[in-house]
Amino acid sequence: MADNFTLRLQKVLPFPLIGRGQNTIWQKDISLTSGKNYQILAPSGTGKSTLIGILNGIRKDYSGEVFIGDENLSKASLDRWVEIRRKYISTVFQDLRLFDQLTAGENIFLSGGFEPSTFSKEQVFDWCVRLQIEGKLNDKMGQLSYGQKQRVALLRALNRKFRWLLLDEPFSHLDVDNMRIAFDLIKEQCREQQAGLIVTGLDHRFNQDEFETLEI
């Protein structure tokens, strides 16, 4: 797979959407180039999270094929998917998927445990300071607001090497200032890792120069 991390969707159609969508990304040949930023815009219920799920290996209920580089992900085993998630595709889920039993800090560092640690604790702590949750690191998740939880989930996703960062409606509970700070950090990290970014959202919020918009 070497340097080619292009994501390709070949005539992908999720089974629940059969007969529903016209003029969408479904059932087409689409190439997403690593290093570019993409924004998926669509109303609720049209398949944004489904796309994130397909690119994560969570959802298998679709026809067509998905590739990363030359590898057909539609046929990847669970173990291979786990490896791909660990090495290439990092995700912030819409429902965050954090662990309430752990503290914010433990959640953030959880994903770093299996690759040679790519970021120092100081580096990650610096990000926490930028996102203004450094004071919450020793608190259990239950004590955090939803906006703070979103930032913890973002930091967990960033604390890893990746070629793609998938964000499923990541800023729904952030104010404009915090969103700006978080977005700066995301773009900075994607640039540094030469990674692609896919963000889903309900409306046009991002700078059109920076994002290529895909509509579902």
């Binding site: 669970l78 998630r85 995700t91 998927r97 662990f99 560092f109 299996f114």
Partner: protein
């Protein structure tokens, strides 16, 4: 916490102690019963096959039936050498002893110390090789020239006296020891002369229901007092292993001979005991099957309770093998603990069994048998294997 510790903490956090305890208890019961069944079978075969222990042997006295037809034909009630060959031919009998009886007449007069009078009666004697007598008394021998003849009486005689005769006559009850002090006069007469000997009770036998004298005395007296008539075999005793009795019993029925049924019954008890142990193994196997499924259910439950944690950990890139290894190590520790508790319980039960058996002077196998250890350990390994098969895919 370090990430790996956090993961262990996460997986542990969803487990319920109650489910763990019931899962552990389920496998413990199954493994304990399998181990116990194996050990009991070992003890049973140990008892049966222990050569030095009379518990494995039965002594069966056989005689021919006396019916109206053969009342006056004495020869028919005798065992021929063909008859003996038939018994030997079965291949199940360890040893055959032939009873010799007196061909002279005997009259005995019993004097009890301190009592006036006594019993006087016509008597009969029998002799059999010493190895067939349940307890050979120390002074059980007689040489020509000795005036006192040792006798072994049936235990039943003394019981009849103590519990039936003595109370009805107002006579004192007697212990075995007391009766050994008693002296008889034994008057022997035959075609070739007569003589009076002193008799003393040397011991009692519960096996042989007859008055026994040493073989040396029987041969001497038959020779000395009677005309030389050939010795006849009217009664034999065989020693046989418990588990072979059924074969002998079949022959006895077939040839219409008679025997002491209660001995056969104890042989049947052995067969029933064997059946019970097999039943227990069978029931044990059913319980083990149930306990296996409870173990598997526990594992399925444990995984499903951690479904969110497992799925999410794999979503953020934690390898499946790491999670499976965590489960297998923990289940291994739990299984080892179950093995330890089973070992302690079996050892404890075994020591109580030893104490119980010792009270009845049976000797059990020394400690837990290697088969028992092997069964318990291999059952645990099989359970661990099944758990691995169930867990390795981490699917639903």
């Amino acid at each position: 916490m370090e990430p790996r510790k956090s993961i262990a903490f996460l997986l542990r956090s969803t487990q319920s102690p109650l489910q763990l305890i019931s899962g552990v208890f389920g496998s413990f019961v199954g493994i304990f019963i399998v181990g116990l069944a194996v050990q009991l079978y070992v003890e049973y075969t140990h008892l049966i096959s222990n050569q030095g222990n009379a518990a494995g042997y039965q002594f069966i006295i056989i005689n021919k039936k006396v019916s109206a037809l053969n009342t006056f034909k004495q020869d028919i009630s005798q065992f021929s050498s063909e008859d003996l060959d038939k018994i030997k031919g079965l291949g199940v009998v360890e040893d055959i002893g032939i009873f010799k009886s007196n061909q002279f007449s005997v009259e005995g007069i019993l004097q009890i110390p301190g009592q006036n009078g006594g019993f006087g009666s016509e008597m009969f004697f029998e002799s059999v090789a010493d190895q067939f007598i349940d307890q050979t008394p120390e002074d059980w021998d007689w040489k020509p020239g000795e005036e006192t003849v040792p006798l072994i009486l049936p235990t039943d005689f003394l019981n009849l006296y103590n519990f039936n005769f003595a109370p009805s006559r107002g006579l004192p009850v007697l212990s075995q020891k007391t009766t050994k002090l008693a002296r008889f006069s034994i008057a022997i007469s035959g075609e070739k002369g007569q003589e009076t000997f002193a008799g003393r009770i040397a011991g009692y036998s519960s096996r042989i229901n007859s008055i026994l004298v040493p073989m040396s005395f029987m041969d001497f007296a038959n020779e000395k007092f009677t005309a030389n008539t050939p010795q006849k075999t009217g009664k034999i005793i065989v020693s046989i292993k418990d588990d072979k009795i059924a074969t002998l019993y079949k022959l006895i029925k077939e040839l219409d001979w008679e025997t002491n049924e209660d001995k056969l019954r104890s042989g049947k008890f052995a067969a029933i005991l064997e059946l019970l142990i097999s039943m227990m193994v069978l029931v044990g196997l059913v319980i083990v099957a149930v306990s296996f499924s409870s173990t598997i259910l526990y594992v399925i439950l444990a995984i499903n309770k951690s479904r969110y944690e497992i799925d999410t950990l794999m979503l953020i890139g934690v390898p499946r093998t790491f999670i499976v290894r965590w489960y297998m190590l923990n289940l291994g520790a739990i299984n080892a603990l179950i093995g330890l508790v089973t070992w302690i319980s079996l050892s404890y039960l075994k020591s109580s069994m030893d104490g119980f058996a010792a009270a009845y002077s049976y000797e059990l196998y020394d400690g837990l048998h290697p088969y028992t250890y092997f069964t318990v350990v291999s059952t645990l390994v099989v359970i661990w294997g099944i758990q691995f098969i169930r867990i390795r895919k981490l699917d639903k």
